[in-house]
Symmetry: C2
Subunit: 335 residues, 2 copies
Amino acid sequence: MRRPSMKELALRLGVDRSTISRALSEDKGHLVAPETRDRIREIAMSEGYRPDLTAAALRRGRSQTVGVLVPDLENETFINVIRAFMASLNAGQSKPATPLIAETLDQPGAAGQLIETFLSHRVDAIISLASTEADKSILEDAARDVPVVLAIRSLAALSLPSALCDDHIGGAIVAGHFAERGHKVVCQVQGPALATTFNNRATGFTRVCAEKGMHEISQAIYTGQATSSAGRKAFDAVLAASPRPTAIFAHNDAIALGLIEAIRLHGLRIPEDMALVGFNDIRIAQVLATPLTTVAYPVAAVGDYAGVLVKRLIAGDSHAESRSFAPELVIRRTT
Amino acid sequence: MRRPSMKELALRLGVDRSTISRALSEDKGHLVAPETRDRIREIAMSEGYRPDLTAAALRRGRSQTVGVLVPDLENETFINVIRAFMASLNAGQSKPATPLIAETLDQPGAAGQLIETFLSHRVDAIISLASTEADKSILEDAARDVPVVLAIRSLAALSLPSALCDDHIGGAIVAGHFAERGHKVVCQVQGPALATTFNNRATGFTRVCAEKGMHEISQAIYTGQATSSAGRKAFDAVLAASPRPTAIFAHNDAIALGLIEAIRLHGLRIPEDMALVGFNDIRIAQVLATPLTTVAYPVAAVGDYAGVLVKRLIAGDSHAESRSFAPELVIRRTT
DNA sequence: ATCACAAAAACAATCGATTGCAATCACGTT
DNA sequence: AACGTGATTGCAATCGATTGTTTTTGTGAT
């Protein structure tokens, strides 16, 4: 009743295990006589043979798994990048990889432990969407044992290939948009500084503010977390600024959502009294009472290219350069 | 430079591989003399020994992985149940399991393939949040090879243990709440019928409507998908009903979000002209302009108990009964 | 000094698939 | 009829850790 192993199939068929292995394999199949191969495949199918990937992994040194390190699974953007990544990675592969997923929640030190676990599982590659400066050396160490690719977040002076959103441009687009709409005084509510992401959005924004002669209130406002409740609280700081800004760049949509609530609580109208732009274009952004103007994250491009990078690295191809993809402004009703 | 294997450690230390194995193991450690054990552990640490879990899995028949089957990774509720599940499963375990995660997107037939992959990877257990009637026999087959636990969604006349939300009660609570608020005519916008979830919410709601003498407009309104855009479209059917309902039970928060938009577009006020209750209590629900009254899904209880079930099944404990946990109404401003 | 007994360590088989190498076979060539 | 060639298949080692079964070592008792 139990599913047979190759050994048992071999016994039943009167051939050697090695022949079974070859017959069942995609690339070694041509080494087996067509009739034998068909006979083997047929029996394997009817007996319900199920390959043991732990055995194959041990022997071949490849496990058909990839480690995915993500800061927060509740974040749609990460999920969508992971989806695109897996689709790209497995496109046209006869032996698709399954993701081992671990969440860091951006806790310092979490990455080390999790990556160690991935490596113990002999993952074929690691993709990290969770890279923070604290993890830099850990990632570089890991890269000596297995292909490591970064997505979404990069790190300063890092040798690892990455697939990113050009956050600098993202910030710049928003500032440009504010300028076009005639805003004179603006500000940004920035996410935590643990990743390049938010810093780049900030500098891109600030640069264009200067170019266009807009006044950015001096102190960017940091939120401890990039969540909507943090955004709500951050609005007090916006109001306290003098001169008071007429437009806010929220570094992500969750923060923007919180800001919307806070702005409404203060009886201000959006966009007349206060304009607002978010970042990422999460699903909810377009079904809000006032649909949110936001910067659409290039999830497909980033995920896709991360998959390409991993495939190249696995193939031993050294031509694995980092790339950034430009995000696009989606103008809705909050500006 | 490369990380050593046990064999190499054994060579370096002048002891047998088996001694290394025992020294490094939690439960067999006592078989090794304390000094030897310390010496081995120290060297293993300093040499950066990293156990090969593919080898261990092959030998021991346990891989320290669990397969997680989920319909949609963008759904917070599923994510939170998975989080609670993993935390519960690994609580106090010296050898924590890592999740292999696969998404069905509720495509018929997807589960079969994915489960087969899990089984090839020799997962120690499978948890399915994605069970639909079409997958029933597949899940039952899988359960003969490995512990299988269902969460969130159950199936009719199924022998597999499950950790569920009592959706029947959930629906009933909402109807009760409508009755208290004095509504006479109500309706529900139901999610797709592929899972027990939505059906149970519907029957619970309908039962209490009858008990309290409310008129539920005859035809429950089905949405093809349980998304906000589907919810928006569904509102046309609500308006078309005669008599027109004054309260809507949306089977999840995404649908409710879409309904809010549609209701506003028609110039109706919430809750004065139209009351609304959602289901799940996703994060966004409480930061909306009008915070959403909704049924809070017992994510922690469900995930937790699913973990307990898996642990029991792995331990060979037959005392693995299914349980349902009651959800709770969170009254906010849409009613 | 001998023996019993427990502790510690070594020995060796094993998990299941993969793969380099050797053996066999069929067939056409000279 | 002997031989080369290529196609099939079998043989056997291997991946790295785990574990049941010895063997060795050490201790205390008689």
